[in-house]
Amino acid sequence: MGVQVNEQTKTEHRWGMAIDLDRCTGCQACVAACHAENNLPLSDPQSAAKGRAVHWIRVDRYYEGEFPNIRVKYMPVLCQQCDEAPCEPVCPVYATYKNAEGLNVQVYNRCIGTRYCGNNCPYSVRFFNWFDPNWPAPLDLQLNPDVSIRESGVMEKCTFCIQRIQRAKGEAKEENRPLTDGAIQPACVQSCPAEAMVFGDLNDLESKVSRLAESGRVTHLLEELGTKPKVFYLQKAE
């Protein structure tokens, strides 16, 4: 198993993420960090009750066994940045497509809000802006200037913190040095206290994420659908 290096897109970078389920404690620091970093619309109990809560990364809980031998598995689910994403061909206006670095990008100002991509995502990691976002004070003071605010009617999802990727690439270019492995950390990866998440360049065979991809514990979510996700989960085989 492992993540195939895509012959079609042999570009400079190919971003991937490894999530070690045996380390994840389900603390949801990644969820909170993502909210802060990406200016997510406020999700309160009312919006959650209406099915309108937005969490670009969420932690799914799977319970196994009977009391008193219950085991819980925590699985952070975010946009899998599929190589053959089912959400992409159905967008009528090219608001989502695969860019040269393998990221499934969402172009907010192109989106007209048909929400077909949301229906076609098997992981349900796509979210819609039902209203214009509103952050009651003092939350409106903590918005990240690097990330655009999405208006009503636009789809959004995890971008692998593309703003951090762009900044790191820009800095490396200015300083005329190559990107070092671990220089780019999306907010979720950065905040995980158990260090369960690893982000890096799959095209760099020496990077930590590439080496983890060779491990025998690699699994993919809903692999049978052929979406070729670039997020892989490490878990002990049962």
Partner: protein
């Protein structure tokens, strides 16, 4: 000049048409007016049409134009979606089909407007058609008027006369 004669029976009108053809008029000079379509036997007053062929040609033209357009636009700003090729015949085949059919529809409409003679600027004067009356109009020279009137009356026409120069 234009002469006309009214008939009540389809067969009488058909006979009149045959007689008129016998004295030298062709289908181009003859017109039959009625308030519902009249089916004559073959050979009485045929109107050959190339509508079917034109529609097929129109449809194929639209099809080729559409394929070209989609090909051009997909490559003009190529974006990879879901692993599909930039130009995918099967993924866009539906668009080709629909616009082919649109071509056939528009061509049919155009052919109808052309072959019926509607929307042409200067048209010959037409008689006002009463219900259940078949009116034959003949385009003839002044010296043939006598012959034509006699022909129409002999076939059983009523109200044989000349139609005015203005469209009425």
């Amino acid at each position: 000049m234009y002469l006309k004669g009214d008939f009540q029976e389809k067969d009488a009108a058909a006979q009149a048409l045959r007689d008129l053809k016998a004295i030298g008029f062709s289908g181009a000079d003859l017109d039959v007016f009625s308030d519902e379509p009249i089916e004559f036997r073959r050979g009485v007053l045929d109107r050959p049409s190339r509508m079917s062929l034109t529609v097929v040609v129109g449809a194929i033209t639209f099809c080729l134009l559409t394929i070209g357009f989609v090909y051009y636009t997909q490559y003009d700003y190529p974006l990879v979606t879901g692993g599909m090729p930039i130009f995918s015949f099967w993924a866009t085949g539906v668009v080709f089909y629909e616009l082919t059919m649109l071509g056939s529809i528009l061509t049919t409409l155009a052919c109808f407007l052309w072959e019926s003679g509607l929307l042409r600027r200067r048209r010959a004067p037409a008689p006002v058609v009463e219900p259940e009356v078949i009116c034959i109009r003949v385009h003839c020279q002044a010296d043939q008027a006598e012959n034509v009137s006699r022909c129409l009356t002999r076939a059983g026409a009523q109200d044989v006369g000349r139609i005015g120069d203005r469209y009425e």
